[in-house]
Symmetry: C2
Subunit: 148 residues, 2 copies
C-alpha cells in the first residue's frame, strides 16, 4: 500500500513560489527570491517564510549544496492544479458546475491543441451524459428551481 499522500494545501502566496520551482525544475533560495522580488513587492524574509512553510508542508524537498539548499518540487504541478480546481468545483452546486465551466472556458485562453483535447474529451462524454445533474445543496436533494 503506497503512502496515502493526503493532498498538500498550497496557499495563494505559496503558489507563486511553487510555480517558480516547477518551472525551473529546481532552484536555490537566491534564485527564487530574486525572481519573486521582481514580480511582487515581497521582501526577502517573506519569501523565505513561504519557502520554509512549503518545505514543512512537504511540497518542496531540499538537497544540501554546500551551505545552501536546492529546492525541488515534491508534488506535481499538474496534479496540484487539477486538485485545486476540482476541490473548488466540488464545493459548488453540482447542477451549476457545467454552466460555470462554460464561462470559465470562454474566459480562458487555450491553445488549439487544448481546445481539440477538450472537444475530444467532451465528445466521448456526450453519449453517456445524463439528461440532467441534480442540485446537491440541500440534505435530501434540491427539487427547487434554484433561483440565483
Amino acid at each position: 500500500m503506497a503512502t496515502t499522500e493526503l493532498a498538500v494545501t498550497i496557499s495563494d502566496a505559496e503558489w507563486r513560489v511553487m510555480r517558480i520551482v516547477w518551472t525551473l525544475g529546481q532552484a536555490d533560495s537566491r534564485t527564487i527570491i530574486d525572481l519573486l522580488e521582481q514580480q511582487h513587492d515581497w521582501k526577502a524574509p517573506t519569501i523565505k517564510t513561504l519557502i520554509g512553510r512549503l518545505v514543512k508542508k512537504g511540497a518542496l524537498g531540499t538537497t544540501k549544496n554546500g551551505r545552501q539548499f536546492i529546492y525541488t518540487p515534491l508534488i506535481k504541478e499538474q496534479a496540484a492544479m487539477d486538485g485545486a480546481l476540482l476541490n473548488e468545483l466540488d464545493q459548488m452546486c453540482a447542477m451549476h458546475r457545467g454552466t460555470s465551466l462554460v464561462h470559465v472556458m470562454e474566459q480562458t485562453e487555450l491553445s488549439k491543441a487544448d481546445v481539440q483535447n477538450l472537444i475530444d474529451c467532451l465528445a466521448k462524454k456526450l453519449p453517456t451524459a445524463p439528461e440532467m445533474v441534480d442540485c446537491d445543496c440541500l440534505p435530501d436533494g434540491c427539487e427547487g428551481s434554484c433561483e440565483s
Copy 2:
C-alpha cells in the same frame, strides 16, 4: 459609474450557507441552521457566526420579519462560482490551464446540455485559438520546458 462591486470572498464554510440560501431563494436562520446541522456536525452558534459574517461581507441581505430576519443572496450563485474558479485558474501557469481543464472535465459529471454547450463554445474558439499559450511563471516569460 456603477459601484465597483469588488468580488466578495466567500470561505469554504460560508459557501455551504450560501448554497442553502441560493437554492431556497431566501431563508430564515432557523431553516438554514436546521438544514446545515443535518449536513455537518456544526453547532447552531457556528452557523449563526457564518451567517453574520456573510451579512457583514455583503453576500447576504436581511429583511426584518417580525422578530427574525429573512436572508436573501446579494450575489449571484453563478457569478460567485465563475469568479471562484477563474480566480483559482488565474493563479496557475497559463500554459498548463488547458490540460487541467481537460482533467476537470473528465472528473466532473455534466448533463448532455452542458456537454453540448461546452462543445459549441470550444468549436467557436478553435479557429482563433493560438498555436500555444506561453508559461507565465517567470518575470520575463518561461522558455524552459516547465518540467513537472
